[in-house]
Symmetry: C2
Subunit: 171 residues, 2 copies
Amino acid sequence: MEKGYIHVYTGNGKGKTTAAFGLALRAACADKKVFIGQFVKGMKYSEVKVCDLLKNIDIEQFGLECFINKEPKEEDILIARKGLEKIEKIIENNTYDVVVLDEINIALYYNLFKLSEVLDILSKKPQNMEIVCTGRYAKDELIEFADLVTEMKEIKHYYNEGVEARRGIEC
Amino acid sequence: MEKGYIHVYTGNGKGKTTAAFGLALRAACADKKVFIGQFVKGMKYSEVKVCDLLKNIDIEQFGLECFINKEPKEEDILIARKGLEKIEKIIENNTYDVVVLDEINIALYYNLFKLSEVLDILSKKPQNMEIVCTGRYAKDELIEFADLVTEMKEIKHYYNEGVEARRGIEC
């Protein structure tokens, strides 16, 4: 059985969640089973429909409304912690080939749970499983722990010109 | 109708083609129609099966065996040029919402066609169409021309430790 790795997509540029979805799609094309857990996010982006289109991909959100630029509330922490517990079970049960922890770096940045808890769970990764962590502000210890780290660096972005996120492109 | 933009994913890190596929998937989730043209590549990666899984995505390869680290042959140039002609027609016909020009930066780097030809074609982009260009070594003029540019920067990669590309993950 092939060895699986831990990926981190971080940085301030576009393409982190997008790359995780691309990896999920490629895996589905190769008949692998994928679980996508989205931390922080509770918004019904078009990408949430991925499970209707691809039977090999399951997706679940562990967030409410986005609290970025505000303070996370008690409920934000609760739903994120429940998500992390679910991820722990998924990793222990080993029924998925690829597990995406979308925006887990943001969840850590906002202290929804502790880095040590995440690293404990990641260290239980079955040999063959691939895990993808996304989000800005990846912690140094996670980068250290991971096998593959890409920084998405913004060179140019039309958000800066006031364009809002568009359905089916950014969300 | 929403305005579409030109994206460039470049840099030496993992996630450029992957992000383009993620964007294609998100667009398909929003009922948009996607065309993926892959320059340089002729290898039947798992991702080529995407059109079997998602009816809104069409994919075509405009390459033979990979010539990277060798010199491109006459046939490599021919097939790339035919690909570029097809892309020109697709852009003119305006039947797709998202058009991915995978590895077009590599095709340009190896002089399979000229930058001026590509910029001419891109300048015919219909207002609503989204175009995504991927590959290392993006030309400055293309970066200048594009609306959104992300550099995928390698922080850590297991290729450096001798792990080969794996089916359903990297290819």
